[in-house]
Each structure stands twice: as C-alpha cells, then as structure tokens.
C-alpha cells in the first residue's frame, strides 16, 4: 500500500462561545445584526451550531432557521434559511451574503412581518477557536483508519466540515489528503458526498470507516499472491 510523503495530522478543536453585544427582537433587527456581526458570529450560528446539534438529523440546520421557526413564527423564512447548505460555501462572506439576501427578500415581500416582535430575542454569539494536535498522524490507509476511529466529534467536524473554510475548496481535509497524498480520488469523492445534515457525526464517521475498510480490503486483495496457473 502507498505511503504518503506528507502525513495526515489529526487535530482537535474546542470552541468557546463568546456572547456578543448584539441581539434582535424582530426580523429587521436580525437583518441589521446579520449585516454587522463578525465572521466568527456567522460561523458560530451556522457551522458550529451544526456540530453542537449533529444528533438532530431532520428539521435543524442553523440557529437563524430555528429562531425564525420557533421565535419569529415564520415557517417559510425558516425553510429558506435551513436550505442554505454550509457545504456550498468556502467563505463566510458568501454565506453572510446569502443569509442577508434571503432575509431581505422575505422582508420586502412581507413588510408587515419586519417589525413584528418575536417571542424571544436572538442573541448573536461568536465562536472562539482553540486547536490542538491530537498526537495522531497517518502516512497510510491503515494508520488513517485507526486515527479516524480514535478522534472526537469535534475533531471529525473540524476536518470534515469546517475544513472547507480553511481549504477554500468544496472538499474536506480527509478527502483532500486521500486524493492528494494517496491518490485515492474515487474514495475521496465518495467520502466528500456523505451528507452531514442527514447523518449524525457518529453515523457519518461510521460510513467513512466502512468506506475505508472496503478500500483496504480491495488493496489487500490486489496485493495477495495470485494462484499459480500451472
């Protein structure tokens, strides 16, 4: 089996939630907040919240959608917020732009709802990130598989979901390394297609482990001695 020149280094991440100074009591205030809040705040209410609520595999997408549904009582807006898939974004700026566009369009079409008081306020928070190496590295598929089985939820989410913002590519750290360092492009693409919205972090990882095991069996099979035709 191939060995990579550049090892895969597993990291873990921990986030502090920093409470911001902005809050919104209606849709117009939410729009102002969305336009003005930090990138770390957009990240917190979309990427980070998906990790914190990964066990909800239906009906939860991001904090804005949840607030629109439960507190502002605007189902149609909630649906549009929820339809924004963070995997489509490689920058927070682009995600912010779409969040603002969705809300601006909704208020334009429904001006009566813009200043309608919500049941509870939306509080803008930020994620403050601390990363640390997991002391796990892999240079081949076997080691990579072992590492995958040993990491935490946060580490998995860091490499599989938020990596898009670091790489600025529509892929993830795992797929990028498997393709770039081991040349396993098909495996990398299949892994990248695992749906993080309809899977928990555990079930997404289990699927990935099954794919890795299948790939390893394939390599074992091709490396085993062929029967002598004589």
């Amino acid at each position: 089996m191939n060995a990579a020149e550049t090892p895969f280094e597993f990291f873990t991440v921990s986030y502090l939630t920093k409470i911001g100074n902005q809050s919104a009591g209606n849709l117009e205030e939410l729009l102002t907040g969305l336009e003005q809040c930090s990138d770390a705040s957009i990240f917190h209410h979309t990427f980070q919240t998906l990790s914190a609520h990964h066990f909800l595999t239906e009906g939860f997408s991001n904090d804005f959608a949840q607030w629109a549904l439960v507190d502002a009582n605007r189902d149609a807006l909630a649906e549009q917020f929820a339809a924004l898939d963070i995997r489509d974004y490689t920058s927070i700026a682009a995600l912010r732009e779409d969040l603002c566009r969705v809300l601006r369009d909704f208020i334009t079409e429904n001006p009566a709802f813009g200043q309608q008081e919500a049941l509870d306020r939306f509080y803008f928070c930020e994620s403050v990130e601390v990363t640390a190496p997991f002391s796990l590295t892999a240079t081949n598929l076997d080691q990579f598989r072992d590492g995958m089985g040993a990491i935490s939820h946060a580490s998995f989410h860091f490499h599989f979901v938020t990596s898009r913002l670091r790489l600025q590519l529509r892929t993830n750290d795992f797929s990028y390394w498997l393709a770039d360092s081991l040349g396993l492009t098909n495996l990398a693409e299949t892994i990248n297609r695992i749906d993080i919205y309809t899977n928990t972090l555990d079930s997404a990882r289990s699927k990935m482990l099954r794919l890795l095991d299948r790939e390893r069996r394939k390599h074992e099979h091709s490396a085993s001695p062929q029967p002598n035709p004589a």
Partner: protein
C-alpha cells in the same frame, strides 16, 4: 475560610463508555499544556446548591488531568449571608431597599477573606456575586481572573448591579449561563452551560426494582402515567400552576402528579408555598406532594426515571438543571420557555416548550397521545445533554478558556 477536601474521585476513563474514548482523549490533549498550572475556584458554600454540586464533580477530573486545582470557600457571618442573599434576590429582579450598611458589610467580609484566601493562582475563578469583590486584591497582573456568574442578570436591581459593576469590569473575562443573562461590559463574556454528572447518584442507571421500591414507598402507581416536577417549593417554580395543568390533563387521561422538592420545614416561604400547593391539591389522592430529605439523589433519580413526562413549569429560571437531568434519562419534558430552559429544550426536537398553564396541559396531552413522539424527544434530549450539558463538556470549556486566556495575544 476552609480549603475543601477533593471529593472521592471517579476516574476519567470511567466516562469513556458514556461519552466516547475520543472525547476523553480530547480532554487529555487539551489539558496537556495546562499540566501543573494552578487554578483556584472560590465560591460561598461547600454544600447544597448547584455550584457546589458542579465543583464537587469538576475538581477531581481537573486534578486527574494534571491541573494544580483547589477549591476555597468564602466565609462570613450571618450578616454577610443575609446581605448576599438580598443581593442575590435583587439581582434576580426582586424588590430591594438599598441600605449603605449592606455594602459596608460586603466590603468588610471581602477584606477579611482576602487576607486568608490564596489569591495567587494563575487562574482564579470566582463564582457568583458573594466573592466578586476579591478582585480588588488581585496580586499580580500576570494571573487571570474569571467571574463565573450563575445567576440571571437580565433584570437586576440597579443599586446592587451598580455596586457589583465596581468589580466585574476588572476581571479578564465573565462567564454566564445564557446570553440573555449577560450585561454590557468592557470585558469578554463567555457562555458556559451548567452541567450534570452522568455517573453521579442522581443520574446513573438504577435497577428497576429500586425504582419500583421508591414508587411503592410514596404510594405511586407504576401502571398509570406519572407526571413529575422536581423542584423546591418556591413560587417561581409555580407548583400551583403545575397542579392546574395536571387537572386539565386529568380530564382526558387517568394520570398521577408527583411534585417533589426539598423539605420546606426550615424555609418560611417554602412552607407557605407548600401549603398553597396542598390546598390546590386537596381531595385528589393522585397528587403526591413529596418533601424529600435535603439530599436524596437516588430518590430523585428514581422518580425521574419512573416518570412518563417530566415538567418544569417555572415562571423564572436560572438554568434549570433538573431539565437536563430528565433529558439525560430520556424523558419527554414539557417546560416553560424561561431562563436557560430553551437552551436545553429545542422546541419539537428535544422537548416541548410552553408559555401558560393551558399550553403546558396541551403539550402533555399531546405527548400522552403520541408516545412515539414522546420517545423520539426523549432520545434526542438525551443526545443533546450528552453533547452539551455533561460535566466533561463543562471541564472542556474551562480548559479551553484557560488556554485562550494564557495564549500569547
């Protein structure tokens, strides 16, 4: 002042089957740079109350991870604790008549404690308003001071908050249990959720026969639905509202209500509230008002596990960890949308929120009619607690905060 004995420890590895081996490795990874570094936690009570309960579980784990951590308790006379109790209530929004002597008493006990408490740890975590004034005795600019406020400051009495505002901005960071509890401050404010320990007596698995035994002891029928609220007898927990909601449900379902809280015998207000609840419950043998002993974790655990639905119909709430306790036991929960409860109850995902007696009754009827939905809410509630409200998560947040504060800018 007394230095507390570190309570009997549960090894960190015992949490692996509960939270996963990867999560335990992660804690060890985050703690590595903090090994040997000193932390002091200071609060005002060694027993009773949620803060002491959390510190009891947190300290042994932090110590196992190599932190040089200690827990100190502020001491004071009756006058000090009367003042700080009135401050506590005033910060929660209760009426308060400002008296200069209160502030003098607070300052005097702060001085006394500052002389005895070791305040030179690299990280000093000061819990709640009682010891907040100790920041005035910070010994060097190199250590990090954190104010951990566990109470709801969303509508504080102005006089008390203005007094505390002399101290709070001098900390390096403040930590609150909900964003709505935070204030406009010039220092960073972070969100830490309180936490439960899944391996404590209050939350660990129990043998079914023990649960049945507890039900028999209190004359509760295990064959009919049981609605439960575990809370002290306090008007803010709205026990009479709970009974009114039960009576509406009772028109449609043959169910029982259990209202269980600590003894009200040494609390005049609690005794009055219990009496009101007894009057509201009069004539209905299916309403059980239980005054549990001050510390009865196994009984509380058993009652929660035996419940069909757990209620938390509070009018005001700090965080409401009894909600997390019930969710951890996979119970469907119907709770008021106040304080920290909506953080735990994501409506229609991990439980149901309500805003009135009638709404509470309606949500209970809905769940009794749809046990499969009740089951799903309970399962998802359990996962929510596992991800966000366990003591190991709390520990992770502290480690992260210490790493962040000590990182070079």
């Amino acid at each position: 002042m007394s230095t507390l004995q570190v309570p009997s420890r549960i090894p960190l590895d015992d949490y692996s089957p509960v939270i996963g081996a990867g999560e335990v490795t992660e804690l060890r990874t985050l703690a590595k740079p903090l090994a040997g570094r000193s932390v002091v936690m200071i609060n005002s009570t060694a027993v009773g109350g949620g803060v002491a309960e959390i510190l009891n579980r947190l300290l042994p784990l932090a110590e196992e991870l190599g932190l040089n951590i200690r827990w100190e308790v502020m001491t004071g006379g009756e006058d000090f604790f009367e003042v700080t109790k009135s401050f506590h209530n005033a910060l929660h929004g209760a009426p308060y008549h400002s008296e200069p002597s209160h502030f003098e008493i607070y300052r005097a006990y702060t001085e006394k404690n500052a002389k005895r408490l070791p305040l030179d740890a690299e990280f000093a975590v000061i819990h709640d308003p009682q010891p907040a004034g100790l920041i005035g005795h910070r010994q060097s600019g190199k250590n990090h001071w954190i104010w951990r406020c566990h109470i709801d400051l969303s509508h504080p009495n102005a006089a008390v908050w203005n007094f505390l505002a002399n101290f709070v901005p001098r900390y390096d960071a403040a930590v609150f249990s909900s964003p709505e509890f935070a204030r406009q401050l010039p220092i960073p404010q972070y969100l830490f959720h309180p936490a439960i320990d899944p391996l404590s007596e209050k939350n660990r698995e129990l043998p079914p026969e023990f649960i049945l035994d507890v039900l028999a002891r209190y004359n509760i029928d295990h064959l009919r639905p049981i609605l439960t609220q575990i809370s002290r007898f306090d008007r803010l927990k709205d026990p009479v509202g709970v009974i009114r909601a039960y009576r509406i449900v009772r028109r449609y379902f043959d169910c029982q209500l259990v209202l269980a809280g600590g003894s009200a015998s040494d609390d005049p207000e609690g005794a009055a509230v219990l009496k009101e609840a007894q009057q509201a419950a009069a004539g209905d043998p299916d309403i059980k008002l239980l005054e549990l002993p001050a510390w009865a974790p196994l009984e509380v655990n058993a009652l929660q596990r035996a419940s069909t639905i757990v209620m938390q119909k509070s009018l005001r709430e700090g965080f409401g960890l009894t909600v997390s306790e019930a969710l951890w036991k996979k119970k469907p929960v119907v709770a008021s949308a106040v304080g920290g409860i909506p953080t735990q109850i994501i409506h229609k995902h991990t439980g149901l929120l309500s805003h009135s007696v009638e709404g509470t009754a309606y949500q209970i009827r809905f769940l009794l009619s749809h046990p499969e939905i009740a089951g799903r809410l309970g399962e998802q509630g359990h996962m929510h607690v596992k991800e966000n409200f366990l003591i190991t998560q709390n520990l992770k947040r502290y480690l992260t905060l210490f790493l962040k504060l000590s990182a070079p800018c």
